[in-house]
Amino acid sequence: MNGTLTWRGWLLDPAPVSRRQARLGRWFRAWLAFRRNGLAMTGLFVVSALVLTALAAPLLVDPRAAILQVLTERLQPPSSSHWFGVDELGRDIFARIVFGARTTLIIVALVSAIVTPVGLGIGLAAGYFGSWIDAVLMRITDIFLSFPRLVLALAFAAALGPGIENAVIAIALTTWPPYARLARAETLTHRRSEFIEAAELQGASHLRIIMSQIMPLCLPSVIIRLTLDMAGIILTAAGLGFLGLAAQPPAPEWGAMVSSGRQVLLGQWWVSTIPGIAIFVTSVGFNLLGDGLRDVADSRSS
């Protein structure tokens, strides 16, 4: 008890004695503010559960169970041996949901890894340099923004063949433009700040100003936006999966699972409904988390 108290005191010390303490203290204060928000904590719980499930999938269920077809047991309702029931090919739905979390997480992670640097890079450059660079970059952004996401994804899948990688590329291509705009808007609000002028006056290069001064200020809103967009990304991935353009059978993917159950929806509801619930819960979880992060960021800036 005493130990935790001193930790807390060290973190909340108004006069930290090292960079590390200052930074950790800042994070801890943000965490305290976040913790007060019940809905945000629910979101964090859901997202953590998803990540843990994905990481521990082989420990939770036998990896072979996700693709093992036991045709004699096909379309069995949820029971103690098959918690979420069995699908039309005799595969355990629970195992497929657990391994499907991996697929979902991979898609989400890859899309973030592409969208964040691309959106930030283009937005920062456009906002910082202005003039013709801004004009060119923003017109390119507009062009990408005008593509309907699913149609572009369909075209991509048609050209490159279906698969998770191509689904990720298709989603990322249509997701980054709003991030570029967001980063540009944030950059413009800080571009004329006195602390930027001070950095210029000290001889900081453009690259240094962008990376060390402006980017840290844009990053929170980009991350929040990304978290809020996760629901949309997961749904698009599921939609592509539903159309058979993302993960290929027999790999477990929630959208494809919903799709596969649609002929038996009335008789054997669990085949479609349970992956549907998984998609729904995950999307809501990301949304709540994003809302909570936004509240923390707002309270800190005011």
Partner: protein, 258 residues
């Protein structure tokens, strides 16, 4: 130390061209303190920014320490002249500790020995070890302005530009900052150029004073002349009267154009 010849800053072209500063010339000797007074929009801050090299399209000549300075400066040319801004809330990066703010200029100019430099410059501006790892929002207005001064000093400049350094502060804090600036000037032999709308503040710190209105330098005078009321321009006289507190005679009601 500072020589300005025909410095002009304008925006737009043709009939819509607006002059933020037109044909401003003056010189400041080494180690002297020069003040520019004027109201908002008089061009005083524009002149300061032109000297700092923050306005690349400024016209005219700026010479610092006998060297002609291009309006676009190189990294090494930046080191000689530093600036303290008006708003201590806006001039510090909100996400960086005092330590980070002060280490950036050291890293840019590869001065080395960062730890010692930071602690000595903090001591000089009257901040203790306990302030070093704080974020700006954990500091008072006066402390932030001290950090801003420390950031300017860490590069050991010969010229310090001050853009209304105390107008956002309480009067008791203003006195502390003015005293600090006077002391630093003496210790380092700094040449100061201060901009303010407050005649008393300018006259306290500076010996020579320029009065600006509508982008032009309309009068060059000294602190003594100003204090004893020996000024020639009617606008300066009006400024002087306004600074002495509320006075009905100074308030002829003119309906200026919107």
């Amino acid at each position: 130390m500072i020589v300005l010849e025909h410095v002009t800053v304008s925006y737009g072209t043709g009939i819509g061209r607006i002059f933020a500063a037109s044909d401003v010339s003056f010189r400041v000797e080494e180690g002297a303190a020069f003040g520019l007074v004027g109201e908002s929009g008089s061009g005083k801050s524009t002149v300061l920014r032109a000297i700092a090299g923050l306005i690349p399209h400024a016209e005219g000549r700026v010479m610092l320490a006998g060297r002609e300075m291009p309006m676009r400066r190189s990294t090494s040319e930046r080191k000689m002249v530093q600036m303290v801004f008006q708003d201590p809330y806006g001039s510090l990066h909100p996400n960086q500790t005092v330590d980070q703010t002060l280490s950036m200029p050291i890293a840019i100019h590869k001065l080395g020995d960062s730890d010692r430099r930071i602690s000595s410059v903090l001591r000089e501006v009257g901040l203790g070890r306990e302030h070093r790892y704080r974020y700006p929002h954990q500091l008072s207005g006066g402390q932030r302005q001290r950090v801003a001064i420390a950031r300017a000093l860490v590069l050991e400049p010969r010229i310090l530009l001050l853009d209304e350094p105390t107008s956002a502060l309480d009067v008791s804090v203003q006195a502390e900052i003015l005293n600090l600036l006077a002391r630093l000037r003496q210790i380092h032999g700094l040449t100061l150029l201060m901009v303010s709308h407050d005649l008393a503040v300018i006259a306290h710190l500076c010996e020579r004073i320029g009065v600006m209105s509508n982008g032009s330098l309309i009068e060059l005078t000294s602190a003594e002349a100003l204090s004893s009321g020996r000024v020639t321009h009617s606008y300066t006289r009006q400024l002087l009267r306004s600074n002495r507190g509320f006075d009905r005679s100074g308030a002829e009601i003119v309906d200026a154009a919107s």
